[in-house]
Amino acid sequence: MNGGCIFAPIFEDPYLDHMRNSFFSKKLVAVIFLIAGVLSAQNHEGEDVEAGAHDLKTQIKEYIDHHLLDSHDFNLYSYTTEDGNHKYIGFPLPVILWDNGLKVFSSSKLKHGEGVAEVDGVYYTLYHNKIYKTDSNGTINYDVDHAKETHTEDAFGENLVVEDAHPSNEKPLDFSITKNVVFIIAVSLLMFLVFRSMAKRYQKSTMPRGVGRFLEPLVLFVRDEIAIPNIGEHKYKKYMSYLLTVFFFVWIINLLGLTPLGVNVTNNIAVTFALAMITYLITTFTGNKNYWKHIFWMPGVPVPMKIILAPIELLGTFIKPFSLMIRLYANITAGHVVLMSIIGLMFIFKNWIGSPLSFLLAFALALLELLVAALQAYIFTMLSALYFGMAVEEDH
């Protein structure tokens, strides 16, 4: 844009020297990566190692896929013993099914998908973390039309023939307390207790105490930077409870997703769907006359244009919460997948250059994810406030 003339003086600039140094350090990193690649390629020479690396890649992929799914039990760690048994460190969660009556049993009966649970003479089994009705042998029947066999290994490196098809077994209605539900309830309880005690303290004095000293600036931030500028001085109060709840809920649950507990609540599109749905319902039911007029009969444009604009605007009311849902879900999922892939690289490199590098990369990315966790909570709250503001805007 403002061209070549700036280049001449800038070369004497000590600041640019620093920039050039950082450019060279980038080159250095690239070279290191290249060496690491060559070294790992050398490692892979010989057919056995090649096959082993392939197995490892499939295993890592399976592991990541598994992490992204909700599960019926809470596992921290699992391994294979010497005699080939799978050991799981964790605890089972209750399974609640509606299948001709309510059925409640512990998920330990399902044996992590390796066994069949018998409840009142009916058999259930787990297949890809979903519960299906089955017979005493645990047979899963597949949709023959879509059947497509693929050979893969499970998380323990054992060969499996996975049929890439939908099981045709009957699926009972599943209301189980899964891992995600446990953490939603836990965060809700935590937030209730913390904010309840915080609110009580303010009845005595306006000075924040304890955890309030940390949370008060955040509450004020949501009010002064998100609610008031978007919704307006007079109407923001009735939306504050929802905005604060959604901000802290999304933030805390995103942060928990970065702990080694394996929490991935906002990775579940059902959870973000529910959050976006609440935003949609509040927008729809608090929208004033002016809001609906702007959707169905846009003022100030000619009549043919009004007719064209009405369906577009109506569609827009659905697209807004839809994009809220996709944004939160996709951001957190992408973050987890990239982070876990880079951690997985450590086991693929298996040398003194590649593995520390991928550790550093994973560390930097984890820091970035800390920012993303807060940023997504902020964006979700901000856009919700923006939509509420549109719904209550007065004629001008």
Partner: protein
């Protein structure tokens, strides 16, 4: 994933990257011109970037 899917995903990422990069760059210029308005500029920048990102993710799901 088939090759057209991968190419499509790549194109989406290029487009979204260009868009968000432009928003970020323009916001930097605006902040340099008027540092006292940086708060408002940042908010507007984040909203615009989030909207592009939303579209990008929606397209990635379709691809």
């Amino acid at each position: 994933m088939t090759i057209p899917n991968i190419v499509g995903a790549g194109l989406i990422v290029i487009g979204a990257g260009l868009g968000i990069g432009r928003i970020g760059g323009q916001a930097m210029e605006a902040i340099a011109r008027q540092p006292e308005a940086s708060g408002k500029i940042q908010t507007a920048m984040l909203i615009a970037a989030a909207l592009i990102e939303g579209i990008g993710f929606a397209a990635l799901f379709a691809a």
